[in-house]
Each structure stands twice: as structure tokens, then as C-alpha cells.
Amino acid sequence: MVQDFNIPPYFEWLPGALSTYLITLGFLALTGLILSFLISAVRNGPMKAGDRIYKVVVSAGVDLARFSPKRVFALARLAVQESVRRRVWVALVVFGVILLFAGWFLEPSGDQADRLSNSDPGKLYINFVLTGTTFLVMLLALFLSAFSLPTDIKNHTIYTIVTKPVRTGEIVLGRILGFTVIGTVMLAVMGAASYLFVGRMLDHTHELTAADLREIPPDPGMPMGGKEGRTALSHNHFHEVTLDAQGNGVTDVRQGHFHRVHAETKDGQTRYIVGPPEDQLVARVPIPVEKKEDFRFLDRSGVQGPGINIGKEWAYRKFLDGGSPMAAIWTFSGITKERFAKGLPLEMNLRVFRTYKGEIADEKKGNRTVGILGSIRLQNPDQPRLKSIGTPFTAKDQVIDKHFIPPVLDREVDGQYKPVGLFKDSIVGAPASESLVTDDGRVDVVLQCLSPSQYLGVANADVYLKLQDGSFAWNFCKGYVSIWLQMLLVIGFGVMFSTFLGGPIAMLATAAMGMLGFFTEDVGNLFRAVIRGETKLFPGGGPLESMIRIAGQNTITLDLEKSLGVRVVQAIDAGIMVFMKAAVDLVPSFKDFDNIRYIADGFDIPAVRLLEQATVGFGFILALFLVGHLFLRMREVAN
């Protein structure tokens, strides 16, 4: 899953973000002023330089006050007309052609030997169309925005604009607005086409005939009998089906979906009808744990400790050793009777790590294959002894598995099973102190692996509660909004750079911003760690401290002795890093705008995430607009 824990509410997030924004903007303004003063002073002397900069800043401010929306719209309209007459819609044709032939190359498991592959083709198609749209639209935005203004300046058409009462800010904003309109239309068309493409590629059914089914021998678990079998192959997969005596039932979950099956008897002949795929294009709204600390592991001896690393480089998931007290515990909060009266709808997306091949059978169950077993139980976070007995289940690798936990469970007291309720009044007459959920609405979900020497992999976000599904179409739209925001940023940077650079250079600079944007998060975290003195995740300190360490051949994992000199050096490092961090913050982190994984994995994009992305996006556009306005104001367009 993509979302690790709850995103903080908007107004808790805003003050911090705003202060970062203002610091960065201040840094930019200060650096800009100093640089332009130095350059101008070299050319004209310090007095005249000061006078000029004062005049430019004042006139730029006055121009902003005289801003006219009508002129901005006129210029935006021009940008739209320009794009249309330059046949920008060819990009749509390209996209259409790509979609037409994409099906040929996007077989989720085209290899015959791989027919039983369980990978979800929905994920593949969604990833493909969204990534494709993003790249195409970015490329379009890049070319349109970076070349338009330089072309105007080169062709001198700008002369007839700037000799009208047009403020430079209006030129910049008009361009940004115009290209955004074009991009929005293109994106909307591509979005609609993509939606249809994904829907059509995934829609399928399977044939199921009486010959494919066999009777299930009577079993205490299924006294009425029934049928089981396998559907015909379609879209490179088949399903195992289990039907009741009437011939109704569901298939297993394969490639992320299942089908409902029902039987129709006509003229003495029974036909089995397999319905459309279900649970495929969904937007789950998960309720994860609130904080990082709400997820923890117990080690093999049953005390709190780390999970096991089975040797994967990506240490996101930790593993539980089977048949030991090792467990993963999630403490969910906000569990009230009003919300969860019927029980806890739990979903799990686990990883199964097997240490040997072959089918794992259970002697107790007549040697039927049971696979790797796990168990789930609930416990009261304040009274860990108040816990339900574990419910065993067969763990499925990389499949979202649903477990509904009823409001009344069993617990073991002195070797006997006794009922225990989720909430205080779940069982009439139960003691007031006995409920699995605490008074403030917290409950522990404990996961263990039961199969000895096998492993279950989990991460914070792999187990969550789910009350409802959002609309997939709306989620798809939200995904496009985040692509739209990224396009807006590219247009903003393109236009801003083109106010003082030539077309190809402006394009390169914008593309460079886009690429840098994928690394800013990591680099920014490093700088922040130095500023805050967090040496655990990023050991070694800032540039000066690192140099001292190199000279003294000190290892980076040990803290230096806190002498006066070291303190001074660390303070200087922190000071340098404030500026470095501000410089990094000038580049938007494009990773933060990426919501494709949410849609592909079938999770609803939280509205607050989108709101925060939009705030950051528009913050950047405002800054880019101001910078562009100032640059164009300072520029001699005829030189």
C-alpha cells in the first residue's frame, strides 16, 4: 500500500509548509538582490546600481498594482490560439495511436509458462496510461512554455506587445494561463481515453461448463455438498470456483479480481454464468494507524524488538518468523461503536516468504494443502492479557485479503473459551472492564505466522481497516489532477526560464528542474538532519564537520567529542545548511506529486493529500510568476 500512516490535517500541515515557503522566498529575494547589485555595481558603480535596483523593484511593484485580468485573458487567449494553430492536437493523435496498439505489448503474463501469474493487469494498465499521459503532457508543456516567449522576442513580435499598456507580469501570467488551458483540454481528452482503455482491457468473463466441475465429497464444513472446478482460460488466467448445491458461488481472487457465478436451468440443462470481474477498479479508503509508533514488532522471545530482514535490499517490509512468539502489532485508534458496530473490517496485503518448495499440507486436516498459515487476534492495548484467541488464515502473497472481525470473539480463560466483546456493551451482562477496545477507542491487532520456518512480511501500511470504497472514476480524476499540477509546474518553470533564457536553454533548464525534482526529497532530508543535529539517520554532520572527520580519520558513526571547536563548526554547518536547504526547496519535489501508485494499487487518494499538493503547486506558481515578472521587467527586450 502506498499510504503509510494518516496524513496530518491540512491546517496542522500549513504553518510549517508556509514558513518553509517564506524562508525560501526570502532567500531567493535576498540572493537575487545581492547578485543583481553586484553585477550592476561592476558595470555602473554602486550608487547607480542601488538607484536602478530600487527603480526596478518599485516599478515592478507599481505594475503589479495595475494588473488587468482582461489583458491577462487576452494574452492567454493568444497563447491558446498559437498552440492550436501550431497543431498541438497532434499529441492527442500520438496518444490515440499508442493506446490503439498498447494492448499488443501489454500482456500481463504473455508467456505461456507464466499463465498462472497472479499479477494484477489492472495495475499494469493504469500504470501504463497514467505514466504515458504524464510524460506526454510534460513534454508538451515543456515545449510550449519554453519556446513561446523566446520566439516572440526573436521574431520581435514582443515589440508590439510591450509598447501597449501591458505589464510584464501579465505577459508571464497570460502565457502560464494559456498553456494551462491547452494542457487541461489535452489532459481531459487523454484521461477520458485512458479510462475507456483500462475499462475495456479489463472487462472479461470466463466460460464454465458442467464438465469443468466435480462434486465436492460431503464434509462437516460443507454438509450440503457442492461443486468445485476451474473456469476456462480467458485473458491469460483462470479461476478456481466453488459452488454451493444450487450452483451459485464465487471464484477465487486471481489477478486482483473475482467473478460471481450463478446457475440457470433451462429445458433440463444447467448453464453456469460467470459475471463480470469484481473488486478490480476500486478506490479503497483505508484507515491506517495514526502514528509511526502505533506499529511495532515483538521478537522471537515475545518482547518488543525489530522484525527480521530476510535479505531484501528494500527494507520496507520486515518479516515474522513462523511458529514463534514473534508478532506484528498495529494499534488502531478512533474505534467507536458508532463507526464499527458490526465489527472490524480488516484488510491485509501480506508477503509470504517460503523457505522451501512444495505444497504445505496439514496432517490434522487430512493432509489437505493449507499453505502458509497466519493468525490474527485482537487485544486490549492497556491490558495485553485481555485478548481474543487467534483466527488462523491461509496467507496470500501480494493479494489484498479481507478479514471481517465480528463484534463478539472468544478468549481463553483457564483453558475454557469465553466470549469477549469489542465494545463494553457488545455482550449483555459482561463485566464493565472487559472489552477489547479501550475507552478512548484503541485496539491492538496482532499478526503472527503459524507455519514453522516460514515467514510473513509486513509493513506499517499492510494492515488497515476499511469502512467503504470510494468511486474509482473519481479517484482516476483525482490522479489526473495531480498530473495537472505537475504540468502546471513545468509550464511555470518553462515560462519563468524563458523570460531570460533562449528557447532551447529554457527547455533544458526546465527539464533539469524536473529531473532534480526527483532527488530533492532525499537531499532535503539530509540537510534537515544536519540543521537539527539528527545524526542517527544521516551520520557524519555537515560539510565542515565532514572535512574535520576526513582529516582526523574519524568514523562517521561515532559522534565527535563536544568541544567548543566542534560546537562552533556544527553551528556553522547548520547555518550553511539552512541556505542549502532553501536552495533545494526552490526545486519542487515531483515525487510528492505522484499519485499514480494510489490508483494502480486501488486506493483512494486522500483529499487532504491532493489539497496539500495543490497548495504547494500554486505556491510555486505564485513564486515563479513573481520571478518571471521581475526578470522580464529588467530585460531590455530589444537588446
Binding site: 505594475d63 495595475r66 489583458r71 493568444l78 520581435h156 509598447t163 501597449k164 531590455e636
Partner: protein, 308 residues
């Protein structure tokens, strides 16, 4: 024989108020490193009054276009000041009352004539009714009604020039700056452009034009400044600059040879000297225009040859 200038009707400025003023205006072009490349304009002092047609004359590279660009705020002065309507030339608000026709008509070639004028009208925040009326009037005035729906990329140079002039007039400006207004125009277009400039002046507008076509400047300008290598070499009224004070010109028609001889005798009696006495010739422009007009009046026939 040098003749007195007798074309442009001298119109006295309605009021002596100053529309454009430059004080010690200089421009030095520099390279990327700030090193001086060219000194394009040296300490120019000029004043242009309301209602006059002011010509900037000079060979290529003399600083005419630089002066105009400085007046429009397209370039920033290295030293000195350029004031338009009493405001600094870099102040955008001056553009409300200004129209500019650039040397080449730098317009958006993907727009048609109507869209072009509508777009520039929008830049002045004109209401749509005014914009429509003004667009129709101007297209009519420059004679492009037949081609108003064609994209400018299909226009000939002369047509582009006309639509360029129309966009300069969209806001009914008080000051019109024309950079080489007649370049690219055929003789008829040139004549029409000159007539239009005079008509604009009669409406009380101030016009600054620069050109190296001396005949055009002589035909329309009240005052001229001659620039060379960035320096102002001459400034004054065209008629007084061109007047040859010690030569008298008499124009008469219907004189017999005897009468001509008598006049010659009178001049010599007064110690004057007859430099030449012959029949005047038309200018080629006059000849061309009259042929075209005849041809328009009688299409299909060859123009008569009875001119001598």
C-alpha cells in the same frame, strides 16, 4: 537648380507643449561580460511638440532605431533620460496614448487581420463594442476588407505593413511612432501612407518617424533631426533647412520665347545671374501615379504616350 521646399504645408504646433523630450540620452551596447561594444547614441537632446511630424534621418547604423527603441522603453538608456508625455520612457502607462509601427510588421502570423486588431484592442481593455467598431474602421481605412479573414502568414509585405499601421492606431493614440513607415510599400502605398500621416497630423496627433528615404521625410515632416554615428548633426524645420536663401525660383506658364528673353535681360540688368531656364520635369513618382490612375480609369488600354 536647387529649389525651395514647397511641399509640406507648415502647420504650427497647436500648443507648445512637449510630448517627447530626451536629455543627454546615450546608449552603449555591451557584450555579455559588460564590455563596451558599440556607442549607438551620444548625448541626444531633442524635444518633440504636440501636433508636429518629426523625422529622424540618418544612414544605417546612425542611431535612429536606437532612439526610437529608447523612447518606447524597449531599451534602457545608459545615461540620460527619455521622457514621453513627461513620464520616464520605461513607464508602461505612457503606452495608453501611444501607437507604434515597427520597422518590420512584427505581428502574430497565425492570426487574421480581424483577430489581430481585436487582440491588440483587448490589450487596451477596450469594451467589445468599441473593439468591433474600431477594428472595422481601421481595416476599412487601410483597405484590407477583402483579406480580413486571411491569416497574416499569407499577406504580402505591403499588406502586413498596412495591418501593422492599423494595430498602431487601434487605441486612437496621441503620439504615433513610425519606424520606416514606407518601407516595403509600392509607390501608391507610399503615397497613401504619406497622405495618411498628414491626415493624422490634421487630427492633432503627434508623429515621430524615422526613415532613410529622404523624399518621404521631405514630403511630410515639419521638423527633422539628422543623426550620424550616434550624434545629432542637424535639427530644424524642413523648409528652413532646405531653403536656399541666395537663389530665387520663379514658376510661370504660357511664356513665349521673347518673354523669357526679356526676363533674362531684366535679371542681368539687376546684376543677377541666370543659372538655368528650362521646362521642369515631373518626378518619377508623379509619372507613375498618373499612369496608374489613368489605367484604373480606363482598364485594358495602354497609357497614352503624349508626355514629354
Amino acid at each position: 537648380m536647387v529649389t525651395e521646399a514647397a511641399v509640406a504645408t507648415p502647420i504650427k504646433p497647436a500648443a507648445a507643449d512637449t510630448i517627447v523630450e530626451t536629455r543627454n540620452l546615450s546608449k552603449v551596447y555591451r557584450d555579455f561580460w559588460g564590455r563596451q561594444k558599440v556607442r549607438a547614441l551620444k548625448a541626444l537632446d531633442l524635444t518633440v511638440h504636440r501636433g508636429e511630424i518629426f523625422g529622424l534621418l540618418g544612414p544605417n547604423g546612425s542611431g535612429k532605431t536606437t532612439t526610437i527603441k529608447l523612447l518606447l522603453g524597449l531599451l534602457f538608456p545608459t545615461t540620460g533620460q527619455a521622457l514621453v508625455f513627461g513620464k520616464d520612457a520605461t513607464d508602461v502607462s505612457k503606452n495608453e496614448r501611444l501607437g507604434f509601427l515597427p520597422e518590420e510588421s512584427y505581428l502574430y502570423r497565425f492570426l487574421n487581420a480581424e483577430e489581430t486588431l481585436d487582440f491588440y484592442g483587448r490589450l487596451f481593455n477596450m469594451p467589445s463594442s468599441v473593439r468591433r467598431r474600431r477594428t472595422a474602421e481601421l481595416i476599412d481605412m487601410v483597405g484590407l476588407n477583402w483579406a480580413k479573414r486571411r491569416q497574416l502568414r499569407e499577406y504580402s509585405k505591403g499588406m502586413t505593413r498596412r495591418i501593422g499601421l492599423a494595430q498602431a492606431l487601434i487605441n486612437d493614440p496621441e503620439l504615433i511612432v513610425l519606424d520606416e513607415p514606407t518601407s516595403g510599400l509600392d509607390p501608391i502605398g507610399t503615397r497613401e501612407m504619406k497622405d495618411l500621416i498628414l491626415k493624422l497630423q490634421s487630427q492633432g496627433k503627434t508623429i515621430i518617424m524615422c526613415s532613410h528615404l529622404l523624399a518621404d521625410v521631405q514630403d511630410v515632416c515639419d521638423r527633422i533631426a539628422i543623426l550620424h554615428q550616434g550624434e545629432l548633426k542637424e535639427l530644424g524645420r524642413v523648409d528652413s533647412l532646405l531653403r536656399v536663401k541666395d537663389v530665387t525660383q520663379i514658376k510661370a506658364s504660357g511664356l513665349s520665347d521673347d518673354a523669357k528673353a526679356e526676363i533674362r535681360a531684366v535679371i542681368e540688368r539687376h546684376n543677377g545671374h541666370v543659372d538655368s531656364m528650362d521646362n521642369p520635369t515631373n518626378t518619377l513618382e508623379d509619372l507613375f501615379l498618373s499612369i496608374v490612375r489613368d489605367s484604373e480609369a480606363r482598364p485594358g488600354k495602354r497609357a497614352p504616350h503624349n508626355r514629354d
